[in-house]
């Protein structure tokens, strides 16, 4: 039996009784065991509990109790979602032995839907990074070229999905952490509207920006996962009380007359010409499919990176204050005083990138700088949002490249944080404005590296975003491109 590449394929095998959940799970666990050494996409593999979940699913299905398209399907979770009875590290030494006493809502919902969790995906430490090189558990490698990064911070989720080490995964996106790795690995990645998915049990980075979403090979799979994890949760007061929709069931490839905005500012200087070419071709394809292409302007988006690198580190410096060496984290050896315990536990437990951001945020919030940095950034955030509000009067969705470049080499940007931060220049505005956005494959560079198209939508209009992505995907079928064997 060949390994199913999608939820759709896996669910069909299970439904037709051509493969059982246990057989599928064994297949994926074997593949992880033989192949993941080459890309390091998992921090923890759940050999036993995955098989146990598969047996449970098998029994339920054989008793006629079929729960839906995720039932018995092997997926993975970014190691930022806390899970009961297995460690959740967030890619950090600080939490290397942390076992949560409860399940995150995302994990709980996926498990309730019958999915088989294969394990926890590698990630940048505390989701801070664009290359998955800041993980305490080592860098993840891009399956298309293992000398290159998979993007970040959900790099393990993207790489595992790409390399068929799971059919799909759930990641998180604070400034592009689902969409950018999806783009660099050639898979689909969606950040829903802020508030669409509960953040309960999702380890906090920047609470006004963080949102969970799917990474999958095809748009329909992303829609299936989104339906499964979306919805109001009394445990997260920022989760919005809107009914969860059947996004997959409502998918439509008919985009005739739909207005697609192209922000002229998003063809940024320094953009890889091959990326620009593919994205322009993708826009032409949308026009062929009947969409109306409208040039728009989002003049303040160019300030989004600066705005983000005040707001996100400020929120992070506060959120990460809880890692103090007292209750559930790494603790330094032989602390003589409480002060010594705090300083050394934090200094030994956090990696450099996390420290840089805590420092940046602490500085921006400190006396004398608050108005110049934090307040200013919040005001510019308003200006960026207003640009989008005016754009929605003219267009239904907005399209651009996801990343201005293809996957870069491991080590290429590690000494220059600012250069690394600028890789998220096209994805950050969505988070600043809380909008839904998706990245889908739209071609390959001459070096056979994936290129991603980003589609952004109005708040809570995930369906239109998915429909445009689906229409483009069905007419181009980039997902059929075969990945080279892992080197």
């Amino acid at each position: 039996m060949s390994i199913p590449r999608t939820i759709k394929e896996a669910a069909a095998l299970i439904e037709k009784r051509e493969a059982s959940p246990v057989e599928l799970t064994e297949l994926f666990l074997e593949r992880i065991s033989s192949e993941d050494g080459k890309i390091n996409s998992y921090i923890t593999v759940w050999e036993e509990s995955a098989l146990e979940a598969a047996r449970k699913a098998e029994k339920e299905i054989s008793e006629g109790n079929y729960l839906g398209p995720l039932h018995g399907v092997p997926i993975a979770l970014k190691d930022i979602f806390v899970t009961k009875d297995s460690r959740t590290t967030c890619g950090s030494k600080m939490l290397r032995d942390f076992v949560a006493p409860y399940n995150s809502t995302v994990a709980e919902k996926l498990i309730a839907g019958g999915s088989v969790v294969l394990g926890k995906n590698n990630m940048d430490e505390f989701a801070m990074g664009s290359s998955n090189e800041t993980s305490y558990f080592g860098p993840v490698r891009n399956p298309w070229d293992t000398d290159r990064v998979p993007g970040g911070s959900s790099g393990g989720s993207a790489a595992a999905t790409t390399a068929n080490l799971c059919v799909a995964s759930v990641g998180t996106d604070t400034g592009g952490s689902i969409r950018q790795p999806a783009s660099l690995c050639g898979v689909v990645g969606m950040k829903p509207t802020y508030g669409r998915v509960s953040r309960y049990g999702m380890i906090a980075f920047a609470s006004s920006l963080d949102q969970a979403g799917p990474l999958a090979k095809i748009v329909e799979d992303a829609a299936i996962i989104l339906s499964s994890i979306a919805g109001h949760d009394p445990m997260d007061s920022t989760s919005v009380n809107l009914p969860a929709a059947d996004y997959a069931g409502a998918l439509s490839a008919d985009i005739k007359g739909l207005r697609v905005g192209i922000p002229k500012e998003y063809f940024v200087s320094g953009m890889d010409p091959e990326v620009e070419k593919s994205v322009r071709e993708a826009i032409a394809e949308l026009e062929t499919l009947g969409a109306e292409i409208v040039e728009i302007s989002l003049p303040h988006s160019r300030y989004a990176v600066s705005t983000y690198y005040i707001i996100a580190p400020s929120e992070a410096s506060s959120n990460l204050a809880r890692y103090d060496g007292v209750r559930y984290t790494y603790r330094c050896e032989d602390a003589e005083t409480l002060r010594d315990l705090f300083f050394r536990s934090r200094s030994e437990g956090f990696g450099d990138e996390v420290k840089r951001r805590i420092m940046l945020g602490t500085y921006a919030l400190s006396t004398g700088y608050y108005d110049a940095y934090y307040l200013k950034a919040q005001q510019v955030r308003t200006l960026i949002i207003r640009d989008f509000d005016s754009a929605w009067e003219k267009v239904d969705v907005i399209a651009s490249a996801t990343s201005p470049e293809t996957a870069f080499r491991i080590g290429e940007k590690t000494d220059d944080p600012l250069k690394m931060y600028l890789s998220d220049i096209l994805t950050i505005p969505c988070n600043i404005a809380g909008l839904p956005g998706i990245s889908i494959p739209c071609g390959f560079s001459s070096e056979k590296l994936p290129i991603g198209l980003q589609i952004m939508g109005k708040p809570f209009d995930e369906q239109t975003v998915l429909n445009v992505a689906y229409a483009y995907e069905q007419s181009t079928k980039w997902y059929e491109e075969e990945m080279p064997p892992l080197g």
Binding site: I310, R327, I358, K376, V380, L418, G434
Partner: protein
């Protein structure tokens, strides 16, 4: 804005972090580069622009004030690096009187 090693040192104190001298210099340079880039925000006139702290229009949700056992003391202490009975332990906070 460039920042000095002393600024980095003061910020580290607030953030409960400590660095060796080499890292301190590296951080002063890197944080300086980032802040110089961020200074572009000063180009924008934001007079009378309301700050956004959150994209959603949030109201405080109320619920019934009912006792609800979510996590037991045993679970809460399971990851503790130091514990005694039902407590987390830390080095002595109050200095000896002598």
């Amino acid at each position: 804005m460039k920042i000095s090693k002393e600024d980095v040192l003061n910020t580290a104190e607030l953030a409960r972090l400590e660095f060796d001298d080499e890292t301190l210099s590296k951080f002063a340079r890197q944080l300086g580069d980032i802040l110089v880039h961020i200074d572009e925000l000063a180009e924008l006139d934001t007079k009378d622009v309301e700050p956004t702290s959150h994209v959603l229009e949030l109201s405080i949700p109320f619920r019934k004030d009912e006792v609800n056992q979510l996590i037991t003391a045993e679970d809460a202490l399971r990851n503790a690096p130091g514990k005694e009975n039902d407590f987390f332990t830390v080095p002595k906070v109050i200095e000896d009187q002598s």
